[in-house]
């Protein structure tokens, strides 16, 4: 049995599970709730935390805050991803936009040992991966092992 057909079978089985369906909805809402406030803070061009500039994360956030509209752009992208995640029709697109942002935040937190998101950001990455797997039927066409059935 090929990888593609195994994944198809697993995905179909998971989609039937009521608990996993609710869990997917919960993940979507929770991830959206995580990005909305932080996105709005960036759009309003306010400094993200009150961390001192001496702190490793403080260095980064201070520099990011001084990048002009790049800071605002990240905020807009965060809010967009959050809104798209809430709407069921666009949840896949939202998860796709969300993923690089949260992966970046996760690696940043681990690299700088930032306590604020040291546990939450890896969990958010996992939740986002779950949503991407949930929409496997829409994303499988871009995977290298996908074989078209004739």
């Amino acid at each position: 049995m090929s990888i593609s057909s195994t994944l198809d079978r697993l995905h179909f089985k998971a989609k039937q599970n009521k608990f996993l369906q609710y869990f997917a909805v919960f993940n979507r809402l929770a991830l959206a709730a995580g990005f909305l406030p932080s996105g709005f803070v960036k759009i309003m061009d306010e400094r993200f935390t009150s961390l001192s500039v001496n702190h490793p994360m403080g260095h980064y956030l201070e520099a990011l805050h001084r990048t002009g509209y790049y800071y605002t752009f990240i905020g807009i992208l965060q809010v967009t991803a959050a809104i798209l995640l809430v709407i069921p029709r666009t949840a896949t697109l939202g998860a796709l936009i969300y993923f690089p942002i949260i992966l970046n935040i996760c690696i940043l937190s681990l690299a700088l040992r930032f306590e604020g998101s040291f546990v939450s950001s890896p969990l958010m990455v996992l939740a986002n991966l779950y949503l991407l797997c949930w929409d496997y039927d829409k994303l499988k066409y871009i995977l290298p092992f996908y074989k078209q059935k004739t």
Partner: protein, 134 residues
């Protein structure tokens, strides 16, 4: 299921692997050093981050170097307990006091102690000087 399990374990190891965290404030950072055998190096790490604004990588390198020196000191104490207690009468990890003693003529040269005594002096000096390199 296995993949999910391995991802979770990897994340758990990653999140638990950091022995010292910079924390958000100097007070919080220092609080994690209490009761640790490596507290001197830990406090130095906090100062590097919060007072001197060092890069995390530099502060960490400095801390591991200090840990190594402290470990060498502990090992030395185990192998030469009498000599170490003699040394600690003047030292007791108070390097500001010890620097005064360091400026004097070495005891080892005066009384002809072995090279191990010199090693201990060297490691204390290394600690004292490397504590400022972050």
């Amino acid at each position: 299921m296995k993949t999910l399990f391995s991802i979770s374990i990897t994340l758990l190891i990653l999140t638990c692997s950091c022995e010292i965290m910079p924390r958000n404030t100097l007070k919080d950072c220092r609080a994690q050093c209490k009761g640790s055998t490596k507290s001197k190096a830990c406090l130095e790490f906090c100062d590097c981050i919060h007072k001197r604004g060092s890069l995390l990588i530099n502060a960490w390198k400095n801390t591991t170097r200090l840990w190594r020196i402290v470990q060498e000191k502990i090992d030395h104490k185990k192998s030469f307990p009498i000599m170490e207690s003699f040394l600690l009468r003047f030292n007791r990890f108070n390097y500001s006091k010890y620097s005064f003693i360091l400026s004097k003529k070495p005891f080892s040269l005066r009384f002809g102690f072995g090279s191990k005594f010199l090693d201990a002096r060297k490691s204390s000096r290394a600690f004292f000087s490397s504590a400022l390199k972050c």
